[in-house]
């Protein structure tokens, strides 16, 4: 029981740690608004994203100067807040992606025998 709890916590932390990078990555191709970002993450990532986490995180990324925002009136008639990467945000995302790639390839080599089940 304890062991599986620890496993769950580890997995939750792993996912949470990736969320910031995932959001920056979702904005890489161009501007997007909250719900669109959430759907993108649900579709393209294995992250279990809580809506109540993404909006405050977006506002933090904005305060840090990694994204900027603008209001655009939607077809539905109400305004939507669109986010886009700033120059600093692009640099940060690229840096994080490089770190990720390096980390994952070295872990991959280490974990290869485990995946084969030997």
């Amino acid at each position: 029981m304890h062991e599986s709890d620890a496993e769950d916590k580890w997995e939750v932390q792993l996912r949470k740690g990736c969320l910031e990078l995932a959001i920056l990555a979702a904005l890489w191709e161009g501007r997007s608004y909250g719900l669109e970002i959430l759907r993108r993450l649900e579709r393209d990532s294995d992250l279990i994203v809580s809506e109540g986490t993404v909006y405050p995180l977006l506002s933090r990324l904005k305060a840090l100067g990694l994204v900027r925002s603008e209001w655009v009136t939607s077809d539905a008639g109400h305004p939507r807040k669109y986010y886009a990467l700033t120059v600093a945000g692009k640099q940060r995302a690229a840096e994080m992606a490089r770190t990720w790639a390096r980390f994952s390839s070295s872990m991959g080599a280490l974990l290869a025998p485990l995946a084969k089940g030997k």
């Binding site: 809506e51 109540g52 840090l64 209001w71 939607s74 539905a76 109400h78 807040k81």
Partner: protein, 207 residues
Amino acid sequence: MAGDAEQRIEAYLSRLRERLRGMNQDEVREIVEELRGHIIDKVASAGISGELTAAGVDAALAQLGSPDKLAREYLTDSLLARAEVTRTPFGILKSVFHWASLSVAGFWVLIGSTVGYFFGVVFILVGALKLIHPHTAGLWAFPKGNGDVEWAIRLGFGNVPANGREVLGWWIVPIGWIGGWGLVMLTTYIALWAVRLYRASRKLDRE
């Protein structure tokens, strides 16, 4: 039916607005507008006709979580961001003050950072005032009858105390400045560390 749905949205948003009180007004307005748009979009995409229904609104609100929880998330995230960008004691105290109104952990961090900043400022002041009040400002020791010694930091206003002894002399100037700034920095780092810890623990709680 639509009126009922709108009422539910407004009740949720006004509770959130209330809990975010103290944050920058423009920021609060943007947060509320953004979430209103999110809820409407969410209900419209889930419903068959795209109509706002009370049940649809309830489902969308449940997925966002309680307004109190959401407000805490915004406050700690904005505190962290602001602190990482500016790191001013005033900014940190202001945000911790709002955090304290939402959680017991915030209350203790507020007490701790207030005490830390208070003594930091007192040390800096005594270092500066020593130059103006050379005979009275400084760290003073007052021997008591039973052999104990009472210590006091005096800013130097008033007369020279009769039965006391000044301990550090001019050393209070560099010690006051360096120690005071050190204490202010230390308080800032500990407050930030506490917020990060709290934020991380809450993220684990949620799931």
